[in-house]
């Protein structure tokens, strides 16, 4: 009995070790602060999108809950942080950020009981319905939220009273990146814990998971709550760095785009959302430069093609690529090729 537990612990510990590839990825991520000084705006959006995608990955990739309503948490926390800053309730951005995350997580906890009932279609409808309801509410109480014009007059105080959100977005980007990193480390802890392992077993086969004594319902409730909190932090980041919040934070397009981001990067592994966000943002930027009005067409085409090719097959390519990289890495020494690969993904 005890040895079995030790085995699991050993397995988890081995998996949880930071690989050189990961370290290189984060070194490169932080190096972008100095590498691309003129691109802070898009980099910042990418970091927020990556955090948002990470939250969806937790419930979709690891727990298997299909959701079209992650925007509900994003939007709620966005408005929350905007309102507390506007009315001077919580002036310190970091505390406001944490509070916004907690508020979103609370909403996630309450709605999780609705979402965990029924089939995939019911889940889709309920998650979508919740975010649309919030959108309608924000529209209804336009005297508080600003309605269709968006929430204006938000002034964000300097972080820790020292780092002001400057015009070039330098501090804003660093702030987003640091928050993303902290959230990522937390998500990583969750995934490589026995709790994370139990989530994967639930996704694999719910019936068997409950047969070996995993409390399926409560595991799903907790991961849904955590993911909602992450989504909320992403939403609050957007409001804080732009000092603005509008009704489209609740829109269906936002949730649908998020699914696309995650699919591009790959579900069920932590870097999927991050890499997906980078690729998506650059793709969007590039296409929008070519055809400003019709970039949605190409995004749709990408989705259709990805499904027709098959996500499994694409995941297979990535695995092969990683195996090749690992072999190269073993031949050339551990660090340098991994750095190179992270670099190509960054561009």
């Amino acid at each position: 009995m005890n040895t079995r537990a030790d085995d699991v612990a050993l397995y988890l510990k081995r998996r949880a070790r930071w690989s050189p590839f990961e370290i290189a990825f984060w070194i490169f991520a932080f190096a972008t602060i100095w590498l691309f000084p003129g691109k802070y705006l898009i980099l910042k959006d990418t970091a927020i999108l990556a955090l948002f995608a990470l939250s969806l990955d937790l419930i979709l990739g690891y727990a298997g809950i299909i959701s079209l309503g992650q925007a509900a948490f994003f939007g709620l926390a966005g408005y929350f942080s905007g309102l507390v800053a506007k009315y001077g309730l919580i002036t310190e951005p970091v505390i406001a950020l944490i509070c916004a995350g907690v508020v979103a997580a609370a909403l996630g906890f309450v709605t999780s009981f609705l979402v965990l009932r029924g089939s995939d279609l019911t889940r889709l409808m309920v998650t979508l319905g919740v975010s649309l309801m919030l959108g309608e509410l924000a529209n209804r109480y336009s005297n508080i939220t600003g309605g269709a014009d968006g929430l204006q007059g938000v002034e964000i105080e300097p972080i820790f009273g020292r780092f002001r959100f400057d015009l070039f977005g330098h501090n804003g980007y660093v702030y987003c990146l640091v928050v993303l990193f902290i959230c990522f480390v937390m998500a990583r802890r969750i995934i490589y814990s026995p709790f994370g392992l139990s989530l994967r077993s639930i996704k694999g086969n719910t019936l068997r998971a409950s047969a070996i004594g995993i409390p399926v319902k409560w595991r799903l409730v907790s991961i849904y709550t955590v993911a909602a909190g992450f989504a909320g932090i992403a939403g609050a980041l957007l409001t804080q760095t732009t000092a603005f919040c509008s009704l489209d934070v609740f829109s269906l397009e936002r949730s649908a785009d998020l699914l696309l981001v995650l699919i591009i990067g790959g579900t069920g592994y932590l870097y999927g959302g991050l890499i997906g966000a980078v690729i998506y943002k650059f793709l969007q930027d590039w296409i929008a430069n070519l055809t400003p009005q019709y970039w949605q067409f190409w995004i749709g085409l990408v989705l259709v093609v990805i499904v027709l090719i098959g996500r499994e097959r694409m995941a297979g390519w990535i695995r092969t690529l990683r195996a090749v990289l690992a072999r190269l890495g073993a031949r050339l020494g551990p660090r340098s090729p991994a750095l190179g690969s992270a670099g190509t993904e960054g561009h």
């Binding site: 609705l114 995939d120 279609l121 649309l132 309801m133 019709y294 067409f297 989705l303 027709l308």
Partner: protein, 286 residues
């Protein structure tokens, strides 16, 4: 008050014609088709082109819109959708959302982003009074057409050989296959027919629902509400669901204009929590 009821019924009938194809495809293949609204939009734009630009009479434009959309649906089903049936629900959602995005941008590109209006013949405009209730002539036409369609659909499902095959396939696909029913063909025909109905609904509804490139996104949620609330195992379920939704939506927009949609979503969530299989579903639905 009665005018609201009347408008609501017309609206609900329209929703039913738009969504019944979706309910069959969902029930039959367990396939989540978010792109159903795109076919409705295709029908609407088809009528706009035919009636406004080519000058074809409105009465002739409607059946042509039906045929064109049915053909379009059939082609898409055979070439694209076929590959996605066996996939997970996530894949289906992604695939059909991708199609929606593409259709939105494509229509925006070809027809412009402004709202389109179908020129309705003079005889159908205006309204007349019956017992003090103002009834729009065009809405009456919608109710008549959609009512006839509903009866016809019910008869096809209940009385014809094709209908019994379809019901058998919906109830248990594997056994139906075992009995020698070509489920794929049944599904292809039903899909094309359902798309055609959506196209007809889009053509009829261009006047009431409005027609612009974001149509599939705007009304996707309504179709899905009809299907999930009504259940997928019969057409009476979606029929009552859409009538309820139509009346509720019109009444909500009239009495609490700013909270209208909120009420609809709230009711939907309550119904889904209370009866996840839909209000009118039989016990053993999927």
């Amino acid at each position: 008050m009665l005018t609201i009821l009347y408008d609501g019924i017309a609206y609900g009938m329209l929703l039913f014609v738009l969504a019944c194809g979706l309910s069959v495809t969902l029930g039959l293949m367990n396939f989540i088709n978010l792109a159903h609204g795109a076919f409705a939009m295709a029908g609407g734009y088809c009528t706009v082109i035919l009636v406004n630009r080519l000058g074809i009479p409105f009465a002739l434009g409607l059946p042509i819109a039906f045929l064109v959309t049915a053909l379009l649906g059939g082609i898409f089903e055979r070439t694209l959708y076929v590959h996605v049936y066996a996939r997970s629900h996530l894949d289906q959602v992604l695939f059909t959302i991708g199609l929606v995005f593409m259709s939105v941008a494509a229509v925006d590109y070809t027809m412009g982003s402004s709202q389109q209006f179908v020129q309705i013949p003079e005889a159908l405009q205006g309204q007349f009074e019956v017992a003090g209730i103002g009834m729009g002539k065009y809405r009456l036409l919608i109710i008549v057409i959609c009512g006839l369609l509903t009866v016809a659909l019910q008869l096809i499902l209940a009385k014809t050989r094709f209908g019994s095959r379809l019901r058998a396939a919906v109830d248990d696909q594997r056994v139906a296959r075992g009995l020698g029913i070509n489920v794929g063909a049944v599904f292809g025909i039903t899909f094309a027919f359902g798309s055609g109905l959506a196209g007809l609904g889009g053509a009829l509804g261009a006047e009431i629902l409005g027609l612009d490139p974001t149509f599939p996104l705007k009304y996707m949620i309504y179709f899905l509400i009809v299907v999930t609330v009504g259940g997928t195992s019969s057409i009476t379920g979606p029929f009552f669901a859409s009538i309820l939704l139509g009346i509720g939506d019109v009444a909500g927009k009239y009495y609490v204009p700013k909270l209208g949609a909120f009420v609809i979503y709230a009711i939907m969530i309550v119904v889904l929590i209370w009866r996840p299989q839909g209000l009118f579903a039989r016990g053993a639905a999927r």
